[in-house]
Structure formats: C-alpha cells, structure tokens
C-alpha cells in the first residue's frame, strides 16, 4: 500500500507540473483546447492524491507499522476513528491532507466553471496547480508519509496519538480548519487570474462568492470548535488563550470577514476594487502563513509540530513567493482599477462597511504584532520577549466592541447618504433598548464596565435584527401571508440579507457568552473525604475516589456532590487519567452546565494522604458561546444555500 501511495504522489507531481505549464501556455496563447488539457490535469492530480489518501487511511486502519508515519502516530489500542484521524495528527499526513483538499477544491472549481468564464480557466488551473506542486514536492522529496521503516527497526505496535487529541471534536476540528484555510485558494486563484488577464470586473468575486463564504464559515466554526475542545479537554476552565497557533487561524478569518463585507460595496457601488483584491490576497497569504506558523515552531506554542531545519526557510520562501507574486500583479494592474465612484457621505452604508474593514484590520495588526513580537525581539535584541494575554484582551475588547456596534449599525443605514430622520426612525428603539440594558446592568452589578458595555451592545444589535425581521414580516403579512410563510419567504427571496442577520445573531450570542468571562470565579481547595469547599452559592462535598479500570489508561475518578444553597444538584466525577502507552497524564473536568452558568470541576491531584486537591470554576453565560456557534452555522448555511433554479426561458 505504501508503495502505491508513494507512486501516486510522484505521478501527481508530474501531472501538476505538466498542467501548470500547459495552463500558462494556454493562457498566453489563448488556446482553449490546451486549457482543457490543463483542466484535465487538475482532475488527474485530484484522483492521484485521493489514491494516496486512501492508501494512508488503509495503512492506518490495518496497523501497517512498517510505514514510519503509521508507527509514529497510531497504535493498536486506538479506536478505528482515532487511528484514521492520525492522518492529520502528524506533519507529513497533514501536508498530504492540505494538498488533497487543494486538489479537491481545484477540481471542483474547474468543473463548476467548465462552460463559462473560459478566459480565466487556464490561469486558475496554473495558479492552483502551482500551489499543489510545492506541497507535492515536499511530500515526495522530504517529508514522505509513505516512508518505510527498515526491516531491522520494525515494531509490532505504534507510538500512538497524543491522548489529548483522542476526543470526538479532534476528529473534525483540524479537518474544518484545513477546509477553511485551503478553501480560500479558489477565490485567490480567480483573483490572480483576473489580474493576469485584466478582466477586472466583478466576475472573479461573483463566481467565487460561495466558495469564499464556505471557506469562511467552516474556518469560523472550526475555530470555535477548537475552543470547545480546549474547554472540555485541557482542563483550565477557558476556551481561548491567544496562543500563536490559535492566532494563526484567527488572522485569515478576520481578513476574510472584512473581505466578505467589502465586496458588497464593490457589487453595489463599484468602489474599493483594489482593496478587495488586497484583502483576498492577504487572506490566502495569511492561510499559508498560519500553516507555516503551526508547522515551523518559530513561535513557542503548545500545539506546534516539531521543527525540522529545512522546513522554516522553504515554507517561508514559498509563502513570500505566492504573496509577492500576487501583489506585484496587483500593482501592475492598479491603473485599470481606479474607481469612478467616491464616498458621498460618512453616514452611509458604504462608509459603515469601510469602518468595519478598518476595525478588522486593526484587530489583525494587533494580533499579528503580539503574536510575532517574540520573533521581532529575537532579531533585534537577541532574546524572545512576549506580551501576555491581558494585552490581547485589553485592546481586542475595545476593537471588538466597535465591531459589535457596526454589526447593528451597518445593515440599517441607507446606501449613499442617510438622512437624520431615517436614522432616528431606525435607531430609536434599538438604541433605547441597548442603553436601558446597560443602565440596568450597571446599577445591578456595579463592576466590570467593559462587560456591561458588551451586553448593552448585544441588546442593541439583537433589537436591530428583531426589528428588521418584524418590519419585513409585517409588510408581507399585509399581503395576506401567515407569519411563518412570510419568514420562510424572506429567507428564500433575500437569503444573503436575512441569513446574514442570523450570522450576526450568532456573533451576538457568542459575545454575550465571552463577556460573561469577566465574572468568572475560581478557587483551589484541598479536601478530605466527607469535607466540603465552597464557591459562591455552591458547595462541593468530596465523597470518594475510585480507580479507573480501563485498558489503555488508568488513574482516579473522584465523586463530588454539588449543592446550590444546600439543594443537591448533581454528583460530579472529574478524572485524573494516566495514559500508559504515551506516559501522559490528563485531567478530564466534570461540568455542570446550565444556560446561566457552568460549574467546572477539575481533580488536580489525589494527594499521598488520601485527600483530594480540587480546582473549581464558575463560568457565567459560557453556554451562549456554543449556542452562538450553532446559530452562526445555521445563518451561514442560509446564506450559502443555492437559490431556487429558475425555469429556463424558451
């Protein structure tokens, strides 16, 4: 099987080189016949990499430990699902997954546009295959997932996957991040092709709008699922730590969000042509940079893969080459991209979208600066210095509040120029609700002004969304539709607008939950069996501990009775596991979860004297973050849903 995988990758590399070369030739000579050959090469590359993927899956499923990658990342004791997920548990496998995704997207994009926009096709094929060549060359010449272990070093069992990664969310979280990262290759390739051919109308982003939306939505959900995993598995009571690798995935998502908003201005008002190209170029470059950051280990992080010496310069040069190539093309075409329309008023939809873009860019610059700071200081003063998460939260919360405001403000104000009367009519109720919420909370809570500002803003945005829906539904009901029919028609007829509001509502829920973190409480206690510790209105009574009799891990499970105001609520069972094969301990928290708050309990240690050291957290509103994820996903699906097929005119 490994031999088959190896050969498929080599053959895929050959086809990719041929296809890229033919694409360039077909583009220059404007020969559609050769372009079709290049596109078939894309299909062939996809098929061959798929064979390699299947070969690696097969090797993982059948415990083929003669394969070095399988021996290093899988083990007999692991369930089939986790054995298969080891495909993206290591360097070589995850690069294979990356290039397979790329080829899948490439084949899909070529197929979807086989009948139209033919002049862009050869260049799109060339750009996508050009990217594939790099990864295929890496896989063939240096980090081959099909490398064999020499017979003298064969083992009967593998090293296993890091037990922290053996969690249902981890089956899909990396997959979703990759689907998101690589998905931006399609809009990027069309933008690049548009720059090369000089066809700089709205075609390139119209045909890739759904592709970009899809990548963006999947990346967003993937990011939040990563947070969910950290919360359930890592046992520190939080879900986001501003770790460099988290930031690496966040940065392209921020720029992509700005992009999705600003293309709407180009669509409606024919402005910001250069800016949109900059944003899509930056998004894809940051996806590559993010992969580089994760894989190279140049910034200290908990997630990074091990560092191989050749990897850093090679991958960095590739990332730079792709970005510089794109931006050189952009500069060369800048004369053609001058916009005829100007901003007419600062109080208009387009101006509010512009401010939204600036805020996203500010957030990006902040995250980039803090993330890369250790690298800069290493270069300048020779030692790595770093900024703590407090700094991210401090500046991020201010910018985020501005963005949340724009979420409510932007969609309600008119294009071109809004009048004072229309502003007053639109914002009277939401503004009032927002201020009233903040005022009530301020009187009640008397601390954490930032969190209160966030909740007030959440109320404001939620009211604007409700108002938009009720007004539109009321208008339809006057025509005799029932409320439900009216609601469904809105989503179907204007899915982008009303689906977008659902996405915004998801963000509101998420922000509601995130702001709750300002009121988190925690305490550490050492208790003997029968004793209790308290946190707020909760009392935790340590009952007993018992050993865990599992095959591949052992350790202890504590039983802790939870009371609120002396009313029994639950028996919680946090675990302290020891994974035998990997010799790795791991704490599994017990969570008592309600919409109001989570009570989160960790068994830090069973002490030598039989007492237990317990860490307890009280996390208000954290469930709203997960409700936000679900709402966000539903909204994204509505926005992307293919419009009903119109009957063809005869």
């Amino acid at each position: 099987m490994s031999t088959l995988g190896s050969y498929s990758l080599q053959l895929a590399l050959l086809f990719a080189c041929t296809g890229a070369g033919l694409g360039v030739y077909a583009g220059i000579a404007q020969r559609d016949d050769w372009s079709q050959v290049a596109e078939r090469c894309v299909g062939a590359v996809f098929a061959l990499i798929s064979v390699a993927m299947l070969a690696l899956f097969y090797a993982l499923a059948t415990n083929e430990f003669s394969n070095a990658y399988v021996a290093a990342h899988s083990a007999r004791s692991m369930d089939l699902g986790y054995r298969l997920s080891a495909l993206w548990g290591g360097q070589a496998g995850s690069l294979l997954l990356w290039v397979w995704m790329l080829s899948l997207y490439a084949a899909g994009a070529m197929y979807a546009n086989r009948h139209h926009h033919r002049e862009l096709a050869p260049w799109v094929a060339a750009v996508l295959l050009g990217n594939a060549i790099f990864f295929l060359a890496l896989l063939t010449f240096s980090t081959n997932p099909f490398e064999l272990v020499p017979p003298a070093h064969r083992v009967s069992d593998g090293n296993g996957l890091n037990p922290l990664l053996q969690h249902p969310v981890m089956l899909i979280h990396p997959l979703m991040l990759y689907t998101g990262f690589v998905g931006f290759a399609v809009p990027f390739a069309y933008a690049f092709a548009a720059l090369i051919t000089g066809r700089l109308d709205t075609t390139w982003f119209r045909i890739t709008r759904r592709w970009a939306l899809f990548a963006w939505a999947v990346l967003g959900v993937g990011l939040m699922l990563g947070g969910r995993w950290a919360y359930e598995v890592l046992g520190w009571g939080g879900y986001w730590a501003w770790d460099p690798v988290e930031n690496a995935a966040l940065m392209p998502w921020l720029v992509a969000t700005a992009y999705l908003h600003s293309v709407m201005i180009q669509e409606k008002r024919d402005m910001l042509k250069i800016w949109n190209l900059v944003l899509i170029g930056l998004t894809y470059s940051l996806c590559l940079f993010g992969t580089f950051l994760t894989r190279s280990g140049i910034v200290q992080s908990v997630h990074a893969f091990t560092n191989a010496g050749w990897f850093t310069p090679l991958f960095l040069s590739y990332t730079l080459l792709v970005s510089i190539g794109f931006f050189v093309a952009l500069i060369a075409r800048s004369q053609m991209l001058r916009s005829t329309n100007r901003l007419e008023s600062v109080v208009s939809r387009e101006a509010s979208f512009l401010i939204n873009n600036w805020l996203f860019m500010a957030l990006l610059i902040m995250v980039f600066w803090f993330t890369m700071y250790p690298v800069f200081t290493e270069l300048v003063i020779g030692e790595q210095r770093t900024w703590g998460p407090v700094w991210y939260n401090l500046f991020g919360s201010v910018i985020g509040l501005g963005l949340l405001f724009m979420t409510g403000f932007g969609p309600l104000i008119a294009w071109r120029r809004a009048t004072a009367t229309s502003l007053r009519r639109q914002f009277q109720i939401p503004g009032g609700v927002g201020f009233a919420t903040a005022a009530v909370l301020a009187v009640w809570l008397r601390r954490e002004p930032m969190a209160i500002a966030y909740w007030g803003m959440c109320a404001f945005v939620a009211t604007t969304i409700t108002q938009e829906y009720t007004q539109a539904i009321a208008a339809r009901m006057r025509r005799g539709e029932s409320p439900l029919v009216a609601f469904a028609t809105l989503l179907r007829k204007n899915q982008r607008r009303y689906g977008g509001y659902i996405v915004h509502l998801g963000i509101v829920f998420a922000m509601l939950g995130i702001a709750g973190a300002a009121f988190n409480q925690e305490s550490l206690a050492n208790v003997r069996p029968g004793d209790s510790t308290e946190l707020g209105a909760y009392r935790f009574e340590y009952l007993t501990a018992e050993p865990i009799p599992k095959q591949h891990y052992g350790g202890a499970r504590a039983r802790v009775a939870l009371y609120r105001d002396e009313e029994p609520l639950a028996v919680m069972a946090p675990e302290k596991r020891m994974y035998w094969l990997e010799q790795q301990p791991s704490s599994i928290p017990a969570i008592y979860s309600t919409l109001r708050e989570d009570v989160y309990l960790i068994l830090t240690a069973i002490e030598p004297d039989g007492s237990a050291t317990l860490k307890v957290y009280r996390n208000p509103l954290v469930n709203w973050l997960w409700i936000g994820i679900v709402t966000f996903s539903i909204g994204s699906i509505v926005v992307m849903w293919p419009p009903p097929v119109r009957p063809r005119e005869a």
């Binding site: 908990v302 030692e383 703590g388 301990p585």
Partner: protein, 156 residues
C-alpha cells in the same frame, strides 16, 4: 482642511486614546522575557540575584517531587537537561511552589518553566515559584527521531 490631514488627525487621536488606555490599565506590566535556561541562571551566580523575579526553564529531576499537602506547597528540583539524557545531573536547583495546583503534565522528567523570585534559605538559594508551566515530554518524539536517524545510518 484636506482629507488626508483629517484622516491623519483622526488616526493620531485614536492611537493616543488607545495608548493612554493601555498604559493606564497595565502600568508596569509590559512585556516579559520568555525564560532563562537553568544553566544560564546558575552561571550568573544565583546568590547575587536574591529578590529578583524571573522565569527559569528546566526539567523536573527524577524522584524530586515532594507534595506537602499540609503546607499547601510542592517542593521539587529542576535540572538543565532531561533526565533521560542526563540522569545523574549534579547541578539541580530547588523550587518551592506555593500551591498544590500543578499542571497535568507536571511529573518526573517534564519540561517546566517556573516563574517566581529568588530567595536565600539556610539550605541554600531557592526559587519561590508562584506559577509552574509544564510542556509535553518530548521523549517519544525524540525516540522516534533517534530511531529514524539510526535507520538512515544503517540504510546508507
């Protein structure tokens, strides 16, 4: 006023506000150094650094962890190299961690960064730590790489 000047003034005002906001909230909490390694620290005469706050990176010496539940503290020693590389390291350094809240990966041989201040005790200079960060023991990865290295040598 030309548009460029307006934008510049706006940008300066925003930057000034943000800067003021940052400084007023976090005075004295600027960036910190990642860590010094234990060898670097020991080479710099620890007795002269009493009272200093710092972060030191090392590995938990085998068998040194002493959890003192009644005193709510954990005593252990760190050494510069991992125990499986240098099991009989003589240059160890004592750490008094003032909490029982040790991270999951804290165990013999774990790579740790200890954060705290240096104190002189009758027993010698120790680090009074208020934070301990542990990294995944890279033993397996190291072993796998070593194996691969050997494999390459034999296949040559």
């Amino acid at each position: 006023m030309p548009k460029g000047v307006q934008i510049a003034i706006g940008a300066i005002v925003c930057a000034a506000l943000l800067g003021w906001y940052g400084f007023s909230n976090l005075e004295g909490q600027a960036t910190y150094q990642y860590f010094t390694t234990l060898d670097e620290f020991l080479a710099s005469e620890p007795q002269n650094r009493i009272g200093e706050s710092l972060r030191i990176k090392g590995f938990v010496a085998d068998g040194s962890i002493d959890r003192r539940v009644d005193e709510r503290r954990v005593l252990f020693a760190i050494q510069n190299d991992p125990p499986h590389v240098n099991a009989n390291a003589t240059a160890t350094f004592a750490v008094h961690y003032l909490s029982l809240e040790t991270p999951d990966l804290f165990q013999d041989g774990a790579e740790v960064v200890v954060e705290g201040h240096v104190e002189g005790r009758p027993s010698g200079v120790v680090l009074i730590a208020d934070n301990v960060l542990a990294k995944c023991p890279s033993k397996f990865q190291a072993m796998a790489e070593q194996q691969r290295g050997e494999a390459e040598e034999t296949s040559l």
